[in-house]
Symmetry: D2
Subunit: 378 residues, 4 copies
Amino acid sequence: MRRLRLGMVGGGEGAFIGGVHRMAARLDGRWDLVAGNFQSDPERSIAFGKSLGLAPDRAYADFRTMAASEAKRADRIDAVAIVTPNSTHHAIAREFLTAGIPVICDKPMTITRKHADDLASLVASTGLPFILTHNYSGYAMPRQARAMIEAGELGNIRIVQAEYAQDWLATELPGNKQADWRGDPSRAGPGGALGDIATHTFQLAEFVTGLQAESIAADLEVFVPGRKIDDNVNIMLRFNGGAKGMLWASQVATGSVNGLRLRVFGDKGGIEWAQETPETLLFTPLGGQQRIIRRGGAGLSASATHATRIPGGHPEGYLEGFAQIYSDAAELIRAHSERRHPNPFAKLAPGVADGVRGVAFIEAAVASSAANGAWMSL
Amino acid sequence: MRRLRLGMVGGGEGAFIGGVHRMAARLDGRWDLVAGNFQSDPERSIAFGKSLGLAPDRAYADFRTMAASEAKRADRIDAVAIVTPNSTHHAIAREFLTAGIPVICDKPMTITRKHADDLASLVASTGLPFILTHNYSGYAMPRQARAMIEAGELGNIRIVQAEYAQDWLATELPGNKQADWRGDPSRAGPGGALGDIATHTFQLAEFVTGLQAESIAADLEVFVPGRKIDDNVNIMLRFNGGAKGMLWASQVATGSVNGLRLRVFGDKGGIEWAQETPETLLFTPLGGQQRIIRRGGAGLSASATHATRIPGGHPEGYLEGFAQIYSDAAELIRAHSERRHPNPFAKLAPGVADGVRGVAFIEAAVASSAANGAWMSL
Amino acid sequence: MRRLRLGMVGGGEGAFIGGVHRMAARLDGRWDLVAGNFQSDPERSIAFGKSLGLAPDRAYADFRTMAASEAKRADRIDAVAIVTPNSTHHAIAREFLTAGIPVICDKPMTITRKHADDLASLVASTGLPFILTHNYSGYAMPRQARAMIEAGELGNIRIVQAEYAQDWLATELPGNKQADWRGDPSRAGPGGALGDIATHTFQLAEFVTGLQAESIAADLEVFVPGRKIDDNVNIMLRFNGGAKGMLWASQVATGSVNGLRLRVFGDKGGIEWAQETPETLLFTPLGGQQRIIRRGGAGLSASATHATRIPGGHPEGYLEGFAQIYSDAAELIRAHSERRHPNPFAKLAPGVADGVRGVAFIEAAVASSAANGAWMSL
Amino acid sequence: MRRLRLGMVGGGEGAFIGGVHRMAARLDGRWDLVAGNFQSDPERSIAFGKSLGLAPDRAYADFRTMAASEAKRADRIDAVAIVTPNSTHHAIAREFLTAGIPVICDKPMTITRKHADDLASLVASTGLPFILTHNYSGYAMPRQARAMIEAGELGNIRIVQAEYAQDWLATELPGNKQADWRGDPSRAGPGGALGDIATHTFQLAEFVTGLQAESIAADLEVFVPGRKIDDNVNIMLRFNGGAKGMLWASQVATGSVNGLRLRVFGDKGGIEWAQETPETLLFTPLGGQQRIIRRGGAGLSASATHATRIPGGHPEGYLEGFAQIYSDAAELIRAHSERRHPNPFAKLAPGVADGVRGVAFIEAAVASSAANGAWMSL
């Protein structure tokens, strides 16, 4: 089975997430990076592409040329990965979709709801695969949690507690490229921690529970002087079906590293998962003993087994979770080109609908906070 | 040094907290239980008192007789512990204070703000010691956390995340005495989980941080059909000085046992403490390595050392934390009777002001939730 | 039901374990300390007794007078607690047993096998209760583990891994009273860490598994210069029935506090318990999910429930485990005096047979290590 | 920088470790698999190679042909990975080394000391890079531990506690390909758990501490009826410089998954690392607070930073640790071909000397156990 050909926009020197995408794409052996436009500076972009071993004619100076050129090739890329700052996702994705090329896009999908809806329409009309890299839903154990909830093992969901705590923005970071664009509304959009990590948290909560938040009440805060967009997010949520929740996301929570954590409680059981110890899922049936469900261990759903490579006790981590999204994307894209139904578990990869939800969530949170925490529907 | 004499109102057969108070009072060897009115039924109360080894004339049929009789004795009780349902605290405390007897009272102090203010006035006018058993502030490590924050080791506090998750009320519990009165607004007051455990959480947050919540926005929920008062509490908080917080308390969080947890983040450091593993406090200085601060270990404050009995690694638990409140109470009462200043660390025991705050918190949360989460000041 | 009357030998100023015994005896309300000979210096002993509130005629100058005097009183002590350095246990226990008074004795029981056998004979001939405070077997969860193994939930036991790591003797501690006598073979006996903590570990391993070690191979070490007896103990064990084990005990394991840990693996399941987190027991049935069995939680044996005071999630710790031995002792002594069978769970308290095993273990380890690790039978 | 070309011997259908090697080789983008002889059956080997996308002429029917053919090519492989059963390592490695091709070999290196010494001579005489995939020393935190010990942060090492507990062989596994060869002395060599996992444990202990075990006393056991070689390993160790240790390895420890754990205690500090939670290293300086040292966090050595890809909190796991060995191998091989000194951190990759030590360890353990635990020097 041939490897798929990946193109990339963004992810040049100094970038963080581009390198992650490349490792994730390599890990499972389903992708070869063959083309890219890595930086806005044309010369640097070309040089960077060469340093990655790309053929000279596929290290592009700009993304529009890249989309046009690739579309004409017999060995054209099977998908483009978009790993640029948020504000540029829309234009780039539009360009490639229009050129008939499937898209793997970083989150949040766009910085306005209008742009998000536009991409959703385009995906619908072209029928092209569109994968959004909410990578945390690529871990095996959140998929296990989702399967358990779907199977009714938690009963009716009552409570959702979700959080994502970091501290890398606890002070000003002058000159830090990652911090710069994330703190600039013109590139990041209206949300700071909100767009960067609360959207992951929100997506994971909806992904695992199968619920949808109907309305939220938000209290956003900027703690670091001079910062323009939020670095701490407090939100209360009301879900369809009556569940209640809270979501906390912070980039100034001193001592936190990448503390994404989800707890869900139903009338028959409760679960807990933490990204920093991703191999285990705690499950307690009502009135029973707490169980440590382990990747690669006993009692796993087929969907969790699908998202695992090596035996339990040999920890899989962040790159494996991210790689899962790429492997699922490969299957979705391959099935699309072969005009067949994909492996159903590959459909767990987040898509354009998650993107629209995420942008709606950001806008509702900003509006609620501006209205002193009034409930806003999503 | 003679042991102090303790009286008790409440805590008869089938009670939970009364037995805890008795163990806590015994543990440090500063109290002897000598008198009590344990149940509303006079005969049973007397029989229960005898079963505890009380002298027959000090096993009382009702609390008014007890207050009057004890007040006249040369060997009268040094304090009364009130461990009855919430709605009765006010009348009983009033009776003993009026009789000149110091009070150790369970929380929440009263079920109305008016009653709370009345007790506060009475305590002020009589000058008598009044201790409120927010027992979690008796543990060594919250006192360590408080000392560190006071000393500036966390810098300016930005974020407070507090939670208290249980699941013992996840279903209806017909015939369970503990559940019955806690679910009956006429005995428990307007708050369910709110009064029972959110007040502990709130007190601990203010105790540790030294901050005061200025306003809160609440979303209370009743999940179990037929229940009259909340079993799940979502609250956002705004503190003086600009800190923001969230407080979650639930008695239907399936799989949770007694999950009281507090996290505080400042611009110089962050801490985390969980009641179920009370011996350790996690502390991370900004940019540094996380440290496990251990009861009995290195680098402890004098106030934490004050609240410890045995070397580190020999776990102290719930009863020791509760005993600390009793030992502090003993010192406060002894100092009062000896007209001297008490050991300053004994003054960390919660008092009538905590009681007023707790009742104000309950009322604000109920009002906010009734107003669809509007911010209410405290 | 009247409280039993406790006498104490040892445990005066500067002692550690005496205070622990007193707290443990108080906690469950079954004992009153009424008599004692607390120190070798007569005046200090009497002064110390008075400071504890003893009647002046029961604060004794020496233990022989105490035994003789108490034996004559109508309100004589129901038991004596012996909390002196190891070398003196035999003479003191002998004195009180001969006087007809039950004994609660610290471990190791004696410093020679001959003395141990002598006490065993005396206990057999007098029929008096004799309790050895291997306090760790008083915790609820080791009792749960024992019950599970007894019920066959682990199948045939194959592997026993036991350890007890401390670091308080990692350097010389000149002038430390606790370190002084423990490092002096004339008071501590032939074992250092071996007698002080390895005996606890050994007793717990046999208590939980129901197995007996048949032979051991030991490699004892003295790491701190100038120390006369071992501070680190490496032992391999062979049990009846074919199980194999390892036992490590150290008082120089830097960073360890009171790390007693036991793991047992059978052909049907495995368990793990650690004293520093005593509330939970990990259990994994072969091929199944790991379960966290919690004190006060689901699926407990009657023997574990017997050893618990308060609901799960409200941590019980070291003093509660120690108190359990005292409560069991109270029941054994009361049953003896009432000529009835005791509550069967009270018989889980360690006794003179554990004492003999412990001394045999010490002697075998010393002999094996002297013979370069040759296997010695017990 | 061109990717290196990798060949593989072994790792066909049903193999476990071959797939791991391939993922590890891919992850960091330094290797392309271009040639292989994957199974003993020639047709299946060729078919398997094609399924991996190899050119038809480089999917070989046997390893001798492969070595000969590759040696002649201009684009010959830069190294061969040997992932066959233990007994075949020697012949295969010999063949490729003789053909001038560097070797990446699975452990244990050989099944006899004679073979091990032969490979060591051959490596010495050819000067070719030889890397042994003791992959656990590729994790960042063991490298951090090693650097700290080297820098004296633990002082003089006194105690080494090492263990590796699994349970996948707790019962007979008829028909399981992995279990079959590991239980067959003709393919696995004289050690079962001893060769499979105790060697990893031993290598890690020596790697981290920089010490060498001088002698060991072993008690090997076969618990599962019908098994020919050990499934449980108890060993006491004596290191140069006076440190003492214990090593436990088991494949029948029910409930264990892949529990490799190392604890080292010196006179200035102690450390603990567990493979199942590889991101953190616990460190306690004597008398100080315990610290959680985190991959990607504060206070890391350059050698730990060298072995990391992504920021802290984004867990790296087993494949990343394994990939590190491959990346280090790439650097060693590239430096060799470029006749320059390699990056010094790449030299942390285990080599032929580790292989010799491992085989010596196996032989000493088998001999000691046969001599009833007599000390055997290494």
